[in-house]
């Protein structure tokens, strides 16, 4: 008689007593299927222990840095921080100081990093400073646009509705649930579309900062995602209650937002002259595009 599966799991975990262990040893010596199960479970456990760490995409830090900076500088009016027109020339020392912080540059005291490419001297002039400030408002604008989408987690079919951004629905009678889900989906869709539109505006206005090959890769990837959005939207329209269709549409929106975020992060790194950061992002884009 075969030992029950739980005993075999406990055996591979090493949590069986000596007598039970001996019983299983004796059984598997003559039972090929239990021996196979034991070996498979051991292999799964070995593989699970050997799983490697994953590297988060470069955009996470860019997003986080922006969020922290915005939070820290909360006292300053947002409109002022996002003001691109002041980027060129006549900002005073206080504002220039803010710009350095917000764009990730450090003051002389901490000194480890500057925004100037390859250690160029500080007197490279106003064009450099303009780039710094342009990178600043660009990334800050992207962060604000994303504030509508970050944490937006639509849960189809009666789960927690959304984390933020869209209004939560109250509990509804079972008969109204489908309608409620559709309403939530439409709201989530509207939020994603708004975020996407904002990011697209930023990305297309600044696209000339990208080299043509990278821009072409981005365009190709965007076209693939747009096609997927069109298809999943059609699926949702024909079957509004279908969870896979809803999930697929939202996943495609998230993919598009992630790609646009990469684009903005890349433009930002290039404007800052951070070649290593830009290369990291481009490498991620190529992997996704392969």
């Amino acid at each position: 008689m075969h030992p029950n599966e739980d005993a075999i799991h406990a055996y591979v975990d090493g949590s069986l007593g000596a007598a039970e262990r001996t019983g299983i040893d004796r059984h598997v010596a003559s039972c090929a299927s239990c021996r196979q199960l034991l070996e498979d479970l051991r292999e799964i456990l070995r593989a699970a222990k050997a799983l490697e760490l994953r590297e988060p995409p470069a955009r996470v830090w860019s997003r986080l840095e922006r969020a922290i900076t915005l939070e820290r500088d909360d006292a300053e009016p947002v409109a002022r921080r996002l003001q691109p027109s002041g980027m060129a020339s006549d900002t005073g020392p206080a504002e220039a100081g803010h710009d350095r912080r917000a764009s990730g540059a450090r003051g002389p005291a901490s000194g480890a990093r500057t925004l100037q490419p390859s250690g160029t001297a500080s007197d490279t002039g106003r064009a450099e400073a303009g780039h710094d400030r342009r990178a600043t408002w660009l990334a800050a604008a992207a962060a604000v646009v994303l504030a509508t989408a970050v944490g937006l987690r639509f849960m189809p079919s009666g789960g927690e509705s959304v984390r933020s951004g869209a209004p939560a629905t109250t509990t509804v009678a079972e008969g109204d649930r489908a309608e409620s889900v559709e309403t939530e989906l439409r709201q989530a869709e509207a939020h994603y579309e708004k975020a996407i539109k904002g990011l697209e505006q930023i990305a297309s206005a600044e696209r000339n900062a990208l080299d043509p090959r990278t821009a072409a890769t981005l365009q190709r990837n965007l076209a693939v995602i747009d096609q997927a959005i069109t298809e999943s939207r059609a699926a949702v329209r024909s079957e509004p209650a279908s969870e896979p269709a809803q999930q697929s549409l939202l996943e495609n929106f998230k993919s598009k937002i992630a790609l646009l975020q990469d684009t903005v992060a890349l433009i930002n790194e290039m404007r800052k002259g951070n070649e290593a950061g830009a290369a990291r992002i481009v490498s991620g884009l190529k992997q996704k595009g392969d």
């Binding site: 599966e5 830090w61 840095e65 912080r101 450090r106 901490s110 009666g158 993919s255």
Partner: protein
């Protein structure tokens, strides 16, 4: 680079570079945990950002009685568990849907060793509930009692969830 205490003090003084150093030191570990607990890299990415934003806000409560890595890990784990709990209402439905899907897809047996990427993908496909128990027990190394406490389930339930996850992985990885 500086000690953890130095980095924390610099962060509290508004030094974003110090916080970036902390991020670079710990992000992979926490991102990996978040992806596996959430079951998708996209959600893992959102969780990672939220975890570090919360860490930035709570750095003042880091007293140095644990290492910074341990403090961050606990914070991340709690955040992931909150996320998992918030999805619990949906769990049963999804579990049965995926169970059905797996039952319909018997994979042909493969004799090759399990590839890391295949296992990662298979873990993502595990049903809610048993995935978290598997990640906490078989990957993160918590015992069943701790897993039960973390997930708010009985120790015996943790065992059955982990065993169920392993059997599903065996099927998904072509080793039925």
């Amino acid at each position: 680079m500086g000690s953890a205490e130095d980095l924390v003090a610099r962060c509290q003084a508004g030094d974003v570079e110090a916080f970036e150093t902390i991020y670079r030191q710990h992000a992979s570990r926490l991102y990996t945990l978040a992806c596996r607990m959430a079951g998708s890299p996209e959600d893992g990415e959102d969780l990672l950002q939220e975890i570090f934003l919360q860490a930035y806000r709570k750095l003042g409560s880091f007293k140095g009685d644990a290492t910074l890595g341990t403090w961050l890990y606990r914070l991340a784990l709690n955040h992931c568990l909150d996320y998992v709990r918030s999805r619990r209402a949906k769990m049963n439905k999804l579990t049965s849907a995926i169970e059905g899907e797996i039952a319909c897809e018997p994979a042909a047996r493969r004799e090759t060793p399990i590839a890391r990427l295949d296992l990662e993908r298979a873990v993502e496909r595990l049903p809610e509930g048993c995935r978290e128990a598997f990640v906490l027990h078989d990957v993160e190394g918590f015992d069943h009692k701790e897993v039960g406490r973390l997930l708010g389930i009985a120790e015996g339930t943790s065992k059955s969830q982990v065993f169920k996850a392993r059997m599903k992985l065996r099927a998904l990885l072509g080793k039925p």
